[in-house]
């Protein structure tokens, strides 16, 4: 089996340079490649185009790259929760392209599946459709959306093996598998790196063929963005505050 292991984020990102387009997995702060982001900050590469569903918070996630003004353009579906982001956007320092969440995911999938473009109804008739081809199939309009191209995809998995196979945990999966398929170079950081042969082949979410470099990350904070809980006693599913909806 092919060994994809590198020592750490520094080695994994050694050839990331200014101006590159990066995909970063995660939804909110869940399942984000913390070690890679820290390394990008340390490395100081700039003028990055970042494709990620969200832009982190001020002091965590992609917010750390924004603080250092390393991001030229952000492609995301939702960028709230980030004051520095707002400041740079309003001042014109930062370019932002907002695209629907499903379109974002599917444009990654298209890249990973060798499809140059996909059709989606999301955004038809809205400003998202401006300049895009609209096509009717079966009486319904769809936008033609192009597959993404990214120099690097940086993803975070729960467990990975030396052959690059990845398994995600719960909703930390989110965008990671589709981005892992879409990078020209895909770097995976994992909480636990195991020898090839340890993982059940039926449980693997991202086959190693899509992963070029893998390392076991360190010091995961795994910050929770919105801690919502219910009380131990008196759970009442008819009460709004007890139910996540």
């Amino acid at each position: 089996m092919i060994n994809k292991v590198v020592t750490d984020a520094e080695e994994a990102l050694v050839d990331v340079i200014d101006g590159m387009t990066l995909m970063l997995g995660g939804f909110g702060l869940c399942g984000i490649p913390e070690n890679c982001i820290n390394e990008l900050v340390k490395k100081g590469v700039s003028s990055l185009t970042c494709i990620s569903n969200n832009a982190g918070v001020d002091d965590f996630g992609i917010g750390l790259l924004l603080q250092q003004r390393q991001v030229k353009k952000m492609i995301a579906s939702y960028v709230g929760e980030n004051a520095e982001f707002e400041r740079q956007l309003l001042s014109g320092e930062l370019e932002v392209e907002l695209i629907p969440q499903g379109t974002l995911a599917t444009r990654c999938l298209a890249a990973g599946y060798g499809m140059p473009a996909i059709f989606t109804p999301a955004g038809v008739g809205t400003e998202v459709a401006e300049g895009k081809e609209v096509r009717n199939f079966g009486g319904k309009d769809y936008l033609l959306e192009m597959a993404f191209e990214a120099d690097f995809a940086l993803v975070k998995a729960w467990r990975g093996d030396t052959a690059g196979n990845l398994i995600y945990r719960q909703t930390a999966r989110n965008f990671n598998p589709v981005m892992a398929m879409a990078g020209k170079v895909t770097v995976a950081e994992v909480e636990e790196l195991v020898p090839a042969g340890t993982l059940n082949p039926d449980h693997i979410h991202t086959p190693g063929i899509y992963v070029h470099r893998i390392f076991q990350g360190a010091n995961y904070e795994k910050r929770i963005e919105q801690r919502t809980v219910r009380k131990y006693e008196g759970l009442d599913v008819t009460k709004a505050e007890d139910y996540a909806g």
């Binding site: 579906s77 999301a122 400003e127 998202v128 589709v178 919502t228 809980v229 009380k231 599913v237 139910y243």
Partner: protein, 221 residues
């Protein structure tokens, strides 16, 4: 006039046994509280989960388990996790039976605006555009009139659109409407308790129609 919970209670009556349901943030979230116990539904969270359960007990929060609102949640028995492409795949393929979401404006042709206010900072559409463009069955939960007294049920939306010709049912603090997407128009089908047809008509800027005897809502929950 209904309060937010009243709107949620009315919407809960639209949920049938066996439904897969996607609930947006705000009033739609409240709907979960009014689903009868004998109605089995599965809640989808579009970040990649079917079978969303209640918030965790304190100390049992798991940073790997959140919903589309980024809140810590739990999973119910029978849950399944998947990636975001499959999540929106099942949404586009109309496997989700009912989508409930909020709106800032709805037009008489079923257009909806709920993601962007010019002059205010834009946070993004998230999954809203995918949901409204894909779902076969959407209920909008919204206020009929703004704080300044303007109707939000319009001939045409004034705000940037989230989707066009996609909303067929609206529940407000005053009424339940069906929208005639083909010909345009809000048809009043139920009144909130104590609210007259005339009051509702006056609070509807888009084309309005009502049968002779519009019943009052029966609230579930």
């Amino acid at each position: 006039m209904l309060d937010k919970d009243g709107i949620a209670r009315r919407i809960a009556k639209e949920i049938k046994d066996g439904y897969y349901v996607n609930l947006g943030i705000g009033i739609p979230t409240l709907v979960a509280n009014y689903i009868p116990e004998d109605t089995h539904v599965v809640l989808q969270s579009e970040n990649g989960l079917l079978g969303m359960g209640p918030f965790p007990y304190e100390g049992e929060e798991d940073s790997d388990l959140i919903n589309a609102g980024k809140q810590t949640i739990t999973m119910l028995p029978g849950s399944a996790v998947f990636d975001s492409a499959m999540s929106f795949g099942m949404i586009r393929a109309q496997k989700v039976d009912l989508t409930i979401l909020g709106a800032m404006e709805v037009s008489e042709y079923g257009d909806i605006a709920n993601w962007k206010i010019p002059g205010k900072l834009v946070k993004g559409m998230g999954g809203a555009m995918d949901l409204v463009a894909s779902a076969k069955n959407i209920i909008v939960a919204m206020q009929q009139v703004s704080k300044s007294g303007d109707s939000k049920l319009l001939r045409n939306c004034t705000l940037p659109l989230t989707g066009i010709r996609c909303i067929r049912k609206v529940v407000t603090e005053m009424a339940v409407f069906e929208i005639d997407i083909e010909n345009g128009g809000f048809q009043l089908i139920e009144r909130a308790p104590g609210v007259s047809v005339n009051e509702i008509r006056n609070a509807t800027a888009g084309r309005f129609s009502a049968a002779d005897n519009v019943p009052e809502m029966q609230l579930g929950g």
